[in-house]
């Protein structure tokens, strides 16, 4: 337990200081919120409708770009070997890595969603706005971790292998964006939220084993 906490703490520091910390979500956030209106024009109704889709696409990209590098970099320099020799289970190690990075680059996007919504002039912004993005971001990071570990284990750089997980993202994006849209337009939650939560649970249950297996592929 102390060992896994040590790994968690380290990954958190790495994620934070190693560049992805806050910058990445901030960058995607900025990309979403600043660049989109530049291209679309600043008409009120238009922007707020774009927001859910853009936020979820930003999440997918953030998860892939941050996670892809951690697994691959650790594998290349042999840091993963050392972690495996610590006797801790790979399932725990991988999921801890993903969660640390989610905490640093996924969660802030979720927390910033209401701000984004305000900027994009949504009708109603409640604290509930965070919920679908919160669930969606964990799920996307976990599935993204599976894609990243496959890339790393196969030593093929590049998004080719990450393409494999795109289908896993699709339900999250669809349900998540739909629910977010509901909330932003002042409607109540729909059935999508349950499906989203189910997807999150599935990701939590399956992805650790998938990631551990993928990294042992070598």
């Amino acid at each position: 337990m102390k060992g896994i906490l040590a790994i968690f703490r380290r990954e958190l520091v790495l994620a934070w200081a190693g560049g992805s910390g806050l910058f990445l979500p901030a960058a995607f956030f900025a990309g979403t919120i600043f660049l989109a209106p530049l291209g679309v024009g600043a008409e009120p109704g238009l922007l707020s409708r774009l927001a859910p889709g853009l936020i979820f696409v930003a999440l997918c990209l953030a998860s892939l770009t941050t996670l892809e590098r951690i697994f691959q970099a650790d594998l290349e320099v042999g840091a993963l070997d050392q972690q495996r020799l610590s006797g801790l289970s790979m399932e725990l190690i991988t999921v801890v890595k993903v969660l640390a990075h989610w905490l640093v680059s996924g969660l802030p996007i979720a927390l910033l969603t209401p701000v984004a919504a305000v900027f994009m002039r949504a009708d109603t912004v409640t604290p509930m706005t965070i919920l679908p993005v919160f669930l969606g971001s964990i799920t996307i990071f976990l599935w993204g971790g599976v894609g990243a570990s496959l890339t790393a284990g196969l030593r093929r750089s590049g998004p080719l292998v990450a393409l494999l997980v795109l289908p896993l993202f699709v339900p999250v994006v669809i349900f998540g964006a739909e629910e977010l849209n509901h909330i932003l337009t002042g409607q109540t939650f729909g059935a999508g939220l349950t499906l989203l939560a189910a997807n999150t649970l599935a990701a939590l249950a399956i992805s650790p084993f998938a990631m551990a297996l993928a990294l042992k592929l070598e």
Binding site: I7, A17, V77
Partner: protein, 209 residues
Amino acid sequence: MINRDSDGQMALKLRQLTAVRGYTLLFSGLDFDLAYGEFAALKGPNGAGKTTLLRMVAGLIAAESGEIEYSIPDEAPARGIYYLGHELGLRPNETPLSHLRDWADMHHQPRERILPAIDRLGLTSRREVPAWSLSAGQKKRVALARSLVVPCPIWLLDEPASSLDVGGQCLLCELMTEHLNSNGAILAALHDPMDLEPSRVLDVGAFAP
């Protein structure tokens, strides 16, 4: 199979090991025993499978067939194996100090050992610079310091002397001698002879098909 008792003096028993990489059979039917207190040299030409064998023994890759049996004393940390590979496990943006701290924490070892280890390996002035800016020999020394911070009974070393200067090679021999004296076991892949004479030699090339 891991045997958690040190009564049996054998540190490692390899039985009928077979290794395949890509589509090539590297070696097969490899049998070897390593006792505690013993230093065995692993020999063989480039590409014979020395690194592959060491990683198999460390449990980092699976053997095609055959068995590996350890017996590791109870008080050893985690899996009890110190592996020094071609890749040293250094993350480019972290410092020697932060690496050693992580390793100590990860294996529940006290952090007090870190500073003496750094001093002993001559890294005192470099302990807070990022690993990418270290020279090749300095990187190797950081990886060697790990053996002092996380004391493991079985050492698996892959060309440990490479990129060390004369002083560093002496230090390596010292560390290895101390380890053997405290009843540790060493299996090391070597191309050049070392000052420390190995008690046994395992030639991987002899098991090639």
